[in-house]
Structures are given as C-alpha cells and as structure tokens.
C-alpha cells in the first residue's frame, strides 16, 4: 500500500473538518475522492501533504509513518500536489514555476528529462514558457500546476480539482493526461467535483460527506450506485 490514512481527524480551530476518515491508495492506482462543497476533500489533501496537522489518527506513506513529518520533507519522500486554486507563483515565469516543482531534486539530467515530458504533455506551456504565471489564463494555470507537481517526479500525485474552471474539451483533455501520467507509472489521488469523469477514469473511489467517508468502491460501482447518481451525477 502506498498511502494509508487511518482514522484521521482534523480541526480548524474549533471546527472539526474530518471525523475519523480512513482511506488507502495502492501503488499504480488512480483513486478518486468525490463529495459536495465543504465535505472536507481539500482538507484531506492538506492532511496528506502536511500543510495542516491532524488532530488524531495516522498517515503512512510507503510503509512509513509520516503523520508528524513536515510538509516540505514529504515532498522529498515522493508526494507531489497540485493544490486547490492552482497556487501558481504569479511573479515567476512558467519555466521558473516548473523549476520550483523540481526544487528538492539535484539530478540535472532527470530534471531536464521531466521538463521535456511535461512540455510534451502540455504544449501550451511551451508556448508560454517565458510568460509570468500570473498572466496565464485559468486553464493554463491549471496545466502549469499539474505540470509543476509532476516535476518532483512524485510517487503519489495529489490533484485537487484539476478540472476546475476548464472548458468541457479541456476537461476531457486533462483527464486523458491523468490517465496517461498514471500509465507512465505515477499513482494518482484526485479530488473532483466532476464526478462523472473522475469515476469513469478511477480504479477506485471514495465518497466524502461532511468529514466522513460514506462510500467506497470501484469507479464503475459508484458510477452505477443510485445514491451516488442522485447526489453527485445529477441523475434522478
């Protein structure tokens, strides 16, 4: 098991955002996490990446307990993230943003290789390479955020709503790229509002409701689950 979240709770001040969630991601999988606004999806991502300390429970990565490991050190262990809201560095060029993704790495040859790969995945970024991140369109920023996360050559890639703000065609494209990245060997945990796409692409999925995991199963199972259909797929 690559990632193992065991009974994690998390608070923002007095507000409890996670009520003891457990979730696993196996090596090679694409796992989707779906849920309504405010369900705690982003909070789960923050717990995994270490941006927010958990109140109780354990997080294990690659067999090691990382519950108390600092966020920047989790990157070195192999967790890469494209955060909610993209988090593009507005005053850095596209290239500098991508270089930031490789901040913890020293293997110049490997970095150049990954830069090549990312720019092949997202040709649009190549065209904008010298432009400041802050001047990119929303969709371009999303590509930059995903590409930047890949630059750390992560074992586990966390994507928080990668389709947010994208045109329908681009949504298709970004999910194809997620599949492609996965086939190239990266494990993916993706948070999505776009449940239809996410579930049809994912090997397995979890449904989060007000800080609790209420359902889990294969992507196909959940896609055909009546309750999920009614709540998240807009089908009565």
């Amino acid at each position: 098991m690559l990632l193992e979240i065991d009974n994690v709770t998390l608070h923002y001040g007095r507000i409890q955002a996670l009520h003891g969630i457990s979730l696993n991601v196996n090596e090679g999988e694409v796992v989707a996490l779906i849920g309504a606004n405010g369900a705690g999806k982003t909070t789960t991502m923050r717990a995994i990446s270490g941006l927010r300390p958990v109140s109780s429970g354990r997080i294990r990565f690659n067999g090691e307990d990382i519950t108390n490991v600092r966020a920047d050190l989790r990157v070195i262990r192999g967790i890469g993230q494209s955060p909610e809201g993209r988090g593009v560095f507005p005053g850095m060029t596209v290239r500098e943003n991508l270089d930031m993704g490789a901040y913890t790495r020293r293997d110049a040859a490997g970095i150049a290789e990954d830069m090549e790969r990312v720019l092949t995945l997202f040709p649009r970024l190549q065209e904008r390479i010298k432009q400041n991140g802050g001047t990119l369109s929303g969709g371009e920023q999303q590509m930059l955020a995903v590409g930047r996360a890949l630059m750390s050559r992560p074992k586990l890639l966390l994507l928080d709503e990668p389709s947010m703000g994208l045109a329908p065609m681009l949504i298709q494209q970004i999910f194809s790229i997620i599949t492609e990245i996965n086939e190239q060997g990266t494990t993916v945990l993706v948070v999505e509002q776009n449940a239809q796409q996410a579930l049809s692409r994912a090997h397995r999925a979890y449904v989060l409701e007000t800080g609790n995991i209420v359902k889990e199963g294969t992507g196909q199972d959940l896609l055909h689950d009546p309750a999920v259909k009614a709540a998240y797929l807009g089908v009565a």
Binding site: D72, L73, G87, F89, E96, M100
Partner: protein, 316 residues
Amino acid sequence: MNFDALFDHIGQHTVDGLAKGAIYALVALGYTLVYGVLRLINFAHSEVFMVGTFAVMWTWIGIGAGNTPSIGIAILLLVLGGLVGAAASGGTAVLVELVAYRHLRRKNAPSLVFLITAIGVSLSLTEIFGIFTGNGERKIQGMPTILNQSIAIDFLGVEITNLQLIVLAAAFLMMIGLDQFINKTRYGRGVRAVAQNPDTAALMGVNKDRVIVLIFALGGLMAGVAAVLWNMRYGFTRFDIGFVIGLKAFTAAVLGGIGNLRGALVGGLLLGVIEVYFATLTASKWEDVFAFIVLVVVLMFRPTGLLGESLGRARA
C-alpha cells in the same frame, strides 16, 4: 530658500546625495526583504545596523588601527570591517528571528503582536548598548579615521572623493549580488516562492523556516556593509544611531516600494539626493525633518512606492 546655492552646483549635490543615499539603500534592503516574505516591518532592523557599527569600531580599535593609515592598510581595515560588520549584523538579525519572531509564528500570533515585539526588541537592544558601552555615558563614540579623503575624480567640476567612490561601488556591488542571488539561484527562487505563496512553496519542498533565516541573514549582511561604510564616512557611532538611520532607510524602502529590492536602491539613492538638495536650500536646518515629510507624502499619495512591490507580487 537659497536656490542659487543648489543650482550652481547641482551636479556636486547630486553626487553627494547619491553617496549618502547608498547607505540608506543598503539598510533599506533589510526592511524590504523581511517585509516581502513575512509582511512584517522589522523595526529591530535599525539596531541590526547599530550593532554592526559597534562591532566594526571595536575591531578597528581592538587591532590598534591609527588615524589615516596607508592606503593598503586602509583597504585591509575596510575589508576586515565589512566582514566583521556583516557577521555581527547578520548574526544579530538571525538571532532576533530565532529568539523573538519564530516563536510568535508557531503560535500564529496576530501581526500587531509582531509589530510590538519588533519595537520591544529595538528598544531593548538600544538600551543594552546605551548601558554597556562607552561607560554608560550614552555619548557619541569616536573611532580612528580610516580613509584619508581626497578627490578621486574631477569631472566637469564635479568632484567625487575616494570615499564616495568606495561607498557607491560597495553599495552597487552588494545590490547586484543580492539581485542575482534572489533572481537567479535556486535558494533565491525558494525565497520568492515563499514570498508569493507560502503554502504552495511548502508543497514544492521549500523549508519556510530556512528561507526566513536566510532573508534575515541577507538583510543583516547588507546592514553590516552599510555599517562599515557609515563608520568610514562619519567616524563615530552611538547606541541610538539606528533610530534615525533606520527611519530613513525605512522611508527609502517605502519610497521605492517596500518588498521590491530594486525599489530599495532607487528609494535610498533618491532620498539621499532629496536630502542634500533640501539641506542646501535651507542651509541644513531641515534636513532630517525632510526625510519624514517624504515618508508621509509617499504614504498618502502612493503607498505602494515608486516601483511597487515585486518580491511577493500578487500575494493579495
């Protein structure tokens, strides 16, 4: 208002102003670096400069430097002073961060608490030096004159002294070095990342605490170089020397656009020139007041300064 005095020698006054402003610019960098990353006005930075002037003075006196030594020895004393000043000021700045601010950050203290702490640290350092140096007499402390001043360049009647040349060259070299470091190196990129988006920076593997120590050290280093230039130029220091220099440097930082490194340079040089012009017009009396008039006017009409903010661009 004596306009003839100003315009008859406008070139000379400009050069004098630039040399004066270069010292402000170096100190201003410390305010701007810390503000750019932490959104904190580090009022203790004036004392970081003050500690540097003392460290350099003690070093010169300690190794028995005499007045106006030969040029070789003078350069040696300057380089040595620069190293000692940079180490002392840089060390003080890092110590302030480790002892005072880091703890507050861990507790997520509101920014007002940081501000009050900064003022507290500033006053404490001032008083400690007031009590424990110069037999507690709280007077100006003189030191050997390191440089025998002479005219190095005479260009169309504008005389540039060797001292002014050294001050300007040192300030520009430090500025260029810092600019390259921040914009071209991996560590510099880490600094900019934390300034622009601290959470995402952590997701890239940047250790925020280490970046913060780095910017305090860099700001201190610049103040230390400013300290040795000050000592060379004015030949004295005092426990409360940081107050006025600090306020002027802060004014320079705001004038250029706080958070903007090149703005600190522009603001410092401009303030120096404005001061000299104004001192000439009013026969000196109003010189210090004028810096603060500039500060108030800038804050009123263009709070983002001349160049605006760049280090932490668009954090808002």
